[in-house]
């Protein structure tokens, strides 16, 4: 029991505090008035009726904060609140600030906004058409602001980023090929649907600002608010209590500038607690159109691959440019392809802004490439598993010259999922199987700091900026500190995230915390250990080599000195602590961490499906998911990550699509939008974690938690293709689509 995560105890008893459980003295409540228009000029805003209501303190509108300008994390394209124009349905146009949420909500109905409709471009095609209305007239790039690099917009268009990467000569390879196959796939916008909607409390006091937010990247929030409002970084404090799910939807910066703007206006704390419906209008995964082409020789070796991905970035760029770049990297897969032509663009549309979401650009790319792999295999008459095995890049081989060599064997993952099904050697007549694999390059920026404090009684405090969003990061950091200092896990506490206390870290995402922040915690613990050992060396005059840490103190070889004894005798008083500091930078470990990706996040999935031919409904009675995680630190938590990712993958595969009709959201409510329920996950589910201790993290760990989402949709689609010869090319695979495809085949 000593290894149980403390956060789970707090959560299971209802004692864990999330933003909406906090109360700040003198706090007001804000209710956001949202645009019903797809693309419009704001002709007028009349807030007088709302202001006159009892309990209404103020109403924030665009002109109040226009002078602060725009913010962004890659492109500076977003105002604090709509100023003279709205670009999507759901864009905030006013915040009514009142003594109670009830008053604010009632008064919001009396804010009168006049809109003059503008020509709209609500799909990728319309946004890229000749003469399309421009959603943003100019693009201000923020180089190296959040990610290394920036966006490459096409001026005078809605294309806000294009990434290209060419290797070898695709044309020549295709000319020499025995067979060339091209496919086209589409992927819808998908809602993050974290159970806790976005909620923020902001408290502006003169030249300082405190924000309580469920932010995955608190230092990015701090930086954006600092620049936007002209405050010193040290005067902007971001506190992150427990976060009720993020999945990327709370990464970078979301509603924090909006709520900070409201607090700036009234100079009192303001809370905005969104509903899930509001959060569905706040951000979503980028939809995609993908064209992919593969050239093979007579023996089934891939000679060349080209891919063009168009990503629907919505009305504001957020991190859509990075999503596009990653989609181009992630469409390569774990394959050795000598010639590549990759191009991905992110495009503004008049819809809800696109954002990072579990494996950015990954599901879009892997859906296309792994469906396509089975199409190519069928076309050349080869077994799809054999076709994959023939073309896998080996451990140590590069899939592209500018990416780190593969640090795993995909054949091992394929073998493990196949083995998992081995008890039933053949699928029965009614059942068919499909496989898919993925290798992705997490953007796990190697920049982190940690503080580990060892106290006189042997208790230990860990301070990091990583947030606790359910993945168990805080317990993992405590475990790493405990193992490094040879102390029991129960002696270690990880402080809640607070930028005023924790040192700088890039943020919680891209499967980076265990590896990058974990290494910084390990370094900080080693630094603390060094300091305590130095005390013994100094005071007891013993050689350092003879000393070692043991539970509760230091062994000299002949006796154990308790931490208490060491501090007391060294400091002369019965008190004290050592403060260990650990940092990871791109220069750490002689630059070994600088090359991207720091590790590969890889997965294989094998699905068994049963199709109801009368309705087109797909059932998945059995699924096996394998991921190479290097080394498991907390088995239950690690399995839970991949099971959760795979279940999300079932949602992407079979149910989920945030729909827009000419820009109007069709199903942006929890009633109309379907996520998987307990009855929707396969009753037989095998979670395989491959451990070879070969990762760059503590004890050989790699990051994990994103990979398992990737193979699900193409594995199911490949099973459908194998059994019925029908190829679904657009997600989700609804009963109607499957039924129609079955009818067409007949």
């Amino acid at each position: 029991m000593s290894s149980v995560r403390p956060d789970l105890i707090e959560k299971v008893t209802g004692r864990a505090e999330y933003i909406t459980d906090l109360t700040v003295p003198d706090m007001l409540h804000g209710f956001v008035v949202r645009s019903p228009a797809v693309h419009a000029r704001i002709a007028s805003i009349d807030t007088s009726a709302a202001r006159s209501m009892d309990g209404v303190v103020d109403v924030l509108i665009g002109e109040d904060v226009a002078s602060f300008g725009c913010w962004g994390v890659v492109l500076k394209d977003r105002p604090i609140i709509a100023i003279d124009r709205v670009r999507y349905v759901g864009e905030p146009v006013a915040i009514v600030i009142a003594e109670t949420i009830e008053i604010a909500e009632n008064a919001a109905e009396r804010v009168d906004v006049g809109y003059e409709e503008l020509p709209r471009a609500a799909t990728i095609q319309k946004a890229m058409a000749d003469g399309a209305p421009l959603i943003h007239e100019h693009h201000e790039n923020l180089q190296d602001f959040y990610f290394k690099g920036g966006a490459k917009p096409t001026q005078g268009s809605n294309i806000f980023h294009t990434y290209r990467n060419n290797v070898g000569d695709v044309d020549a390879a295709e000319a020499a090929a025995a067979y060339v196959h091209e496919d086209h796939f589409t992927f819808p916008a998908i809602s993050h649907f974290a159970m806790e909607p976005h909620a923020v409390i902001a408290d502006f006091k003169g030249d300082s600002l405190t924000v309580w937010a469920g932010a995955q990247t608190p230092t990015a929030v701090q930086k954006v608010l600092s620049r936007l409002f002209g405050l010193q970084l040290a005067k902007v404090r971001v506190i992150v209590p427990f976060v009720g799910g993020g999945f990327g939807g709370k990464a970078s910066v979301k509603i924090e500038p909006l709520v900070a703007g409201a607090s700036w206006k009234v100079q009192r704390p303001v809370r905005v607690a969104q509903s899930i419906s509001d959060s569905m209008l706040t951000c979503r995964r980028l939809g995609a159109e993908v064209t992919i082409r593969t050239a093979v020789d007579a023996k089934g070796r891939i000679l060349a691959k080209s891919a063009k991905l168009l990503l629907d970035g919505g009305a504001y760029s957020d991190t859509g440019s990075a999503v596009a770049t990653k989609s181009a990297n992630r469409i390569i897969g774990p394959y050795a392809v000598p010639n590549l032509r990759l191009e991905a663009s992110a495009i503004y549309t008049n819809t809800v802004p696109g954002a990072a979401f579990r494996s950015i650009g990954g599901p879009q790319a892997v859906w296309a490439k792994e469906s396509h792999m089975d199409n190519v295999a069928a076309a050349i008459g080869m077994d799809p598993a054999e076709f994959r095995l023939k073309n896998l890049a080996a451990r140590g081989e590069r899939t592209r010259p500018d990416l780190r060599a593969l640090d795993m064997d995909m054949s091992e993952l394929m073998g493990r999922v196949t083995q998992s099904f081995a008890s039933e050697s053949q699928a029965s007549n009614r059942r068919s199987r499909g496989m898919a694999v993925a290798a992705t390059d997490p953007a796990n920026t190697p920049i982190a700091n940690a503080i580990v404090r060892l106290k006189i009684d042997g208790s230990i405090l860990v301070s990091v900026s990583s947030i606790e969003v359910g993945q168990g990061a805080h317990a993992t950091m405590a475990r790493i500190a405990a193992q490094t200092l040879k102390q029991p896990f129960s002696a270690v506490s990880t402080l809640r995230t607070d930028t005023a206390v924790a040192p700088y870290d890039w943020g919680t995402g891209a499967s980076r915390s265990t590896v990058v922040v974990g290494l910084s915690v390990e370094n900080a613990a080693l630094d603390a250990a060094d300091q305590i050992l130095d005390m013994v060396v100094d005071v007891w005059e013993l050689p350092k080599e003879s000393l070692s840490l043991v539970e509760g103190g230091v062994s000299t070889g002949s006796e154990v000195l308790t931490f208490h004894q060491i501090f007391h005798r060294t400091l002369g008083v019965d008190s004290g602590e050592v403060v260990g500091r650990g940092a990871i930078t791109p220069r750490s470990k002689k630059g070994a961490l600088a090359e991207s990706p720091l590790f590969w996040e890889t997965s294989a999935g094998l699905a068994e499906i049963v199709v109801d031919e009368d309705t087109g409904e797909i059932h998945v009675p059995r699924y096996a998911s394998a991921a190479d995680v290097g080394r498991v630190i907390d088995r239950v938590a690690a399995e839970g990550q991949d099971e959760g990712a795979a279940a999300m993958g079932f949602g992407h595969a079979l149910y989920e699509q945030l729909e827009f009709e000419d820009g109007q959201p069709v199903n942006a409510t929890p009633i109309d939008y379907t996520i998987p329920r307990i009855s929707d996950v396969p009753p037989v589910f095998d979670t395989i974690l491959v451990e070879n201790g070969d990762g760059p993290g503590p004890g050989g760990a790699k990051g994990m938690g994103e990979g398992a989402i990737l193979p699900v949709a193409p594995a199911i689609a490949n099973a459908l293709f194998s059994a019925y010869g029908i190829r679904i090319t657009d997600l989700p695979m609804t009963p109607e689509k499957v039924w129609r495809a079955l009818q067409k085949r007949k």
């Binding site: 799910g245 359910g470 979670t687």
Partner: protein, 176 residues
Amino acid sequence: MTNLHPVSFSLNGQPVEIEIPAHTLLIDLIRDRFGLKGTKRSCDMEVCGACTMLLDGDPISSCTTLAVDVDGKEITTIEGVTPPNGLSRIQNAFVLHGGLQCGFCTPGFIMAVTALLKANPHPTDEEIRHYLHGNLCRCTGYIKIFEAVKSLAAEQVSEDAALPVARQRNFRLETS
């Protein structure tokens, strides 16, 4: 001036009386007036189960229940099923099996499972899936939630037995 209506009911075994406007929702009464914040508001439209409380032992969505409608009834919240020192056997099973991650849906699941096992101490797999169909979780993929409940369904224990405090002596609850 809003008219106030007297309401009296049992909250976690304690009789309470309060005057409230007719439109007050049960979740707001419990969270904001009684300060019991363990119950979470998520979908706010009775589809996700995060706000589940027990009304006379049966699960209800407190986000769409009018507080005046619980007059004379028994309301149980997550605070009411948490032993003063330790965990209920349901809470313990969720922790041991990892049936939670972010925790936002968890109080609702604990309440639903409490009601399930009270009505049916040894549910079948299908009964578990059917009963928990109305509780959404976006983190776990439900696999470990299912395993937790299945482990309880197999147990021959009095359903009120709390986990002995001794089994948790190594936990340190943090106050941030």
